[in-house]
């Protein structure tokens, strides 16, 4: 078998697969090398007990760019995003907020808690929609190179300036307030009710070492609002079979275009010759050759492990070394014997159709964050849960359920202990929080899986278990992702590219880095 290809993609996560599919579609003989026995990276589904499917890491779909669905013909390969019809937020006092698909019913739900917040709720969404609309072109295009000398760079910069110039004053100001400020400050301008603020703040801390009172949490909130499902901004879906089901779809699409995928094929290094990439070497010494090598791994591994940092400019190496990863997220996944009972809603299951947001107020979440500042996990963590078998009954045997809990904060580095020691204690803390909202929860548990930040790192390769392959901090976004001057998917090594979540626009199951990087590769190849 020939080991020569037109392009080699290192890493079969969702961006690597997306990238490979685009390259193969353009006619390149493309090889994907995945270290694990299963494609998907952090987007996998595993059957840990017979009949019970767990979304081990990534657990929902929203930010996937809609054009990718069509350009890669994903529906033909089984793409099936199921609606998550509701959002449930216990308010901590036995009451709850329950949002659904009917805007006017949502307004009544807000009014039930605060008549004043009802029209604020409408203004809030309108203002946020305007910001999303304004920055979407930035999100969906490569960042211009501010430091480039190519005439095309000047054209790109002018495009950006013209676009920014067209944004009205209020929207521009709102954008800057979100990008630089805290979620709390932003939400305080709209809402009075603590639980309504708490509900909206929940997306401001996902995967990031910030609390909702930290500057920078506004950016995380905005990033998550950029997601859409069937045209609804900020709305989430559950892919049939979990995100592992989705990455299997991507793999089928890539293969249908002619890409080859090799599993259990860990790449240890990129082979360079005279300053350009010519192939890769696997752990077992096997070599594959291609004039294009694309890393879908995070920037730390892309620049400091796969290649010799000595071959790279010092400013890039410095920037990557100081890039912040600092994973703070863990998963606690459950197999359940039945549905939990929320005492105020004893006779219905409709509140389990989407996310269960366990973080009643901003103060609750900020207190959960406090521990992380000092190297410890939250006594009462924030939990973003979903009983996925309600949306997709095929995830569990009839009448049984699987529940995915994304739990924060769980700092990668613990002070005075380690995650192997703390695994069960941490799982108990998360379960105790659930028990306090859903009495009797513990009796339903058939199986519990605790996935610590160290597990995330060791199994997926994501540095320090950071789910975004580099934190969402302003100095690590757009022109600066992963480093100033290196945000356009190429690297200083000819033929070596990057397409992972550590590149613009960033993490989540979004596909953009993979797609935008493919455009760069194909442009350089003039395909």
């Amino acid at each position: 078998m020939s080991n020569e290809y037109d392009a080699i993609v290192v890493g079969g996560g969702h961006n690597g697969l997306t990238h490979a599919a685009y390259l193969a579609k353009a006619g390149l003989r493309t090889l994907v090398l995945e270290k694990n026995d299963l494609v998907g990276g952090a987007a996998i589904t595993e059957e840990l007990m017979p009949g019970f499917s767990f979304t081990t890491f990534s657990y929902a779909l929203s930010l996937l760019r809609p054009e990718i669905i069509h350009e890669l013909d994903l529906v033909k390969h089984g793409f099936l995003p199921l609606m998550m019809p509701s959002s449930f937020h216990p308010t901590g006092d036995g009451d709850y907020l329950l949002f659904g698909d009917d805007h006017t019913q949502n307004l009544q739900e807000v009014r039930r808690h605060s008549p004043r917040d009802a029209d604020a709720y409408e203004r809030y969404h309108r203002d946020l929609d305007r910001v999303c609309q304004a920055i979407r072109p930035l999100f969906d295009n490569p960042p211009p190179n501010l430091w480039g000398t190519d005439p095309e760079d000047a054209v790109d910069v002018k495009w950006l300036m013209d676009h920014l110039g067209g944004i009205d004053r209020k929207t521009m100001h709102d954008t800057v307030r979100l990008l630089t400020g805290s979620a709390k400050d932003w939400l305080d301008d709209y809402f009075e009710h603590e639980a309504i603020k708490g509900y909206h703040a929940s997306s401001s801390i996902i995967g990031s070492k910030v609390g909702p009172m930290s500057p920078g949490s506004g950016l995380v909130l905005l990033f998550h609002k950029m997601g859409e499902h069937d045209g609804h901004l900020g709305s989430w879906a559950f892919h049939k079979g979990g995100n592992g089901g989705f990455t299997q779809v991507l793999a089928r699409a890539a293969q249908a275009y002619g890409a080859e995928i090799r599993l259990a094929a860990p790449v240890t290094s990129v082979i360079t010759q005279d300053g350009r990439a010519v192939g890769v070497a696997l752990e077992d010494g096997t070599e594959f050759r291609a004039p294009v090598v694309v890393s879908a791994l995070d920037p730390r591994r892309t620049f400091l492990e796969l290649v010799e940092p000595r071959e790279l400019p010092l400013d890039l190496v410095d920037n990557i070394r100081r890039m912040k990863f600092r994973g703070v997220s863990a998963k606690v996944n459950f197999a359940l014997d039945g549905l939990p009972v929320f005492p105020a809603l004893p006779d219905t299951v409709d509140h389990y159709g989407g996310f269960l947001n366990i973080g009643p107020t901003i103060e609750y979440v900020e207190k959960a964050f406090d521990a992380a500042k000092y190297g410890w996990y939250s006594e009462r963590p924030f939990i973003d849960a979903a009983i996925q078998s309600v949306v997709d009954p095929d995830m569990a045997p009839p009448g049984k359920h699987v529940m995915s809990c994304f739990v924060q904060y769980a700092p990668y580095e613990l002070r005075g202990s380690d995650w192997e020691t703390e695994r069960d204690n941490f799982g108990d803390k998360a379960q105790a929080v659930l028990e306090s909202h859903f009495p009797g929860f513990g009796d339903l548990v058939l199986h519990r899986e605790v996935v610590t930040p160290v597990d995330i790192e060791s199994r997926t390769g994501l540095t320090e278990g950071n789910i975004f392959a580099g934190e969402f901090l302003a100095p690590q976004m757009y022109f600066f992702r992963p480093a100033p001057g290196y945000s356009q998917y190429a690297t200083p090594i000819d033929g070596y590219y990057q397409c992972g979540s550590g590149t613009h626009p960033g993490g989540c199951v979004i596909g953009s880095p993979g797609k935008l990087a493919s455009q760069r590769v194909l442009r350089d190849l003039k395909r």
Binding site: P66, E67, I69, H70, L74, V75, F79, L80, P81, L82, M83, P85, S86, G100, D101, D102, Q105, D129, Q133, R136, D230, G231, H232, L233, K240, D350, G353, V390, V391, D392, P393, D394, P398, G399
Partner: protein
């Protein structure tokens, strides 16, 4: 006086919206919850129930029952054996479609015909002089559609016969001790069944189905979900895709079976070997090629749709009703060459799709045309392509 169906008492308890249409004078829920799309996904991914009782039901019995129906129905009823059902239509003498419906054959001389609009006098008049009894039994029965990939597993717990029942077959069965007719029929384009039950026993049967379906997340679905499902299935609906030929004031509102996409029902018409009301006109249409329209699916170019709205600073709508039905279809010269009769965003296909009528010469699959729509209060067009229907047809539907 508005009617309610035999299942209403129980289904209404599960309805927290109380939004109804008046389907032939009967309360019919638009949706049961805030999220009709969730109800839709029950059918596409697990199992849902729909109350289809408002359909008219006519018992047709007697030695000449087959003779009456074979002279009235577009599809050859003689090929329908007892235990089978046919989706069919009937026409006026000009060959224009009046109604469609499903006819269940229970015995050589015993049929049950469903219809979306009242049709008793039509059939009675056609039956003059024949040994046939026609009875309106609409109120006697409830009909419950149980649809979706898990429908078979749920119903097999109650009726083992569900396991092996073939597509468009039906069989007597018992649910909770109550006799019912179980048929492998439906209006969703998915694996699915319908249960016909005496009205007095309807709630007991419904309860048994809901109980068996509980571990499978069964839920009732309303007309909004049904509309998306039936368009994906490419199934026409009276008064949307066409109007009863006997009631229209203009021939422009009438269509022939061929024009409606039901040409597959017309076996034996072209050679004159089969005669029914309207068949001679249809034969001439087939022989002379005089069909004015062809029915086709259309698929909107997703990128073009998004670009149109984004260029206008709007979010591209991907909802159940993004356009009024009957938007015009244009060719490259902006000449009207057809019209869309139903239009919807399909969640499983991730595209806008429509049932349309175009000039027959443009109906070949893959023909690129344009669909007229208004964006920001200006008329514009979006790229579409014709495509065969059904849009969505999983293997499980017939397997």
């Amino acid at each position: 006086m508005i009617r309610t169906t035999p299942f209403h008492a129980r289904l209404n308890e599960l309805n927290d919206q109380h939004l109804f249409t008046h389907w032939q004078g009967t309360l019919s829920p638009l949706r049961y919850t805030h999220a009709p799309k969730h109800e839709y996904f029950a059918v596409r991914n697990s199992v849902g129930v729909f109350d289809t009782s408002p359909l008219y039901k006519y018992a047709v019995t007697g030695p000449d029952a087959e003779k009456l129906l074979s002279g009235a129905l577009v599809r050859d009823i003689r090929t329908c054996r007892p235990g089978q059902a046919h989706y069919t239509a009937w026409c006026d003498d000009r060959g224009y479609v009046m109604h469609d419906g499903v006819v269940f054959r229970h015995a050589s001389d015993e049929f049950l015909l469903t219809a979306g609009r009242p049709a008793l006098s039509w059939f009675q008049e056609l039956g003059t002089g024949l040994r046939v009894e026609l009875e309106d039994v609409t109120e006697n029965y409830g009909m419950l559609a149980v649809q979706g990939p898990r429908s078979r597993a749920v119903l097999a717990e109650l009726m083992p016969g569900a396991e092996t029942l073939g597509y468009f077959d039906h069989t007597p069965a018992k649910v909770a001790g109550t006799p019912v007719v179980l048929s492998r029929t439906g209006y969703t384009g998915d694996l699915g069944f319908e249960i016909t039950v005496a009205s007095d026993d309807a709630v007991a049967v419904l309860d048994a189905v809901l109980e068996a379906g509980k571990p499978h997340s069964i839920r009732p679905f309303g007309e909004e979900a049904l509309m998306t499902l039936r368009i994906e299935a490419g199934l026409p609906l009276v008064d949307i895709e066409w109007h009863d030929a006997r009631l229209t004031l203009s021939d422009a509102d009438c269509v022939t079976p061929k024009e409606l996409g039901l040409g597959w029902m017309l076996r034996g018409v072209r050679d004159g070997s089969r005669r029914f009301v309207g068949s001679e006109a249809i034969r001439r249409e087939l022989v002379e090629g005089t069909s004015r329209w062809a029915t086709t699916g259309i698929v909107v170019d997703a990128g073009d749709w998004d670009r149109l709205y984004r260029a206008a600073d709007l979010f591209p709508p991907k909802s159940e009703h993004p356009l009024p039905y009957e938007s015009m279809i244009l060719d490259d010269d902006r000449a009207e060459v057809g019209y869309c009769t139903s239009f919807v965003y399909s969640p499983v296909l991730q595209r806008h799709i429509g049932i349309a009528r175009v000039r027959p010469d443009l109906a070949a699959a893959g023909t690129e045309l344009r669909l007229e729509l208004a964006v920001n209060h200006h008329n514009t067009t979006v790229r579409i392509a014709t495509t065969p229907m059904p849009f969505f047809e999983p293997d499980r539907k017939k397997s």
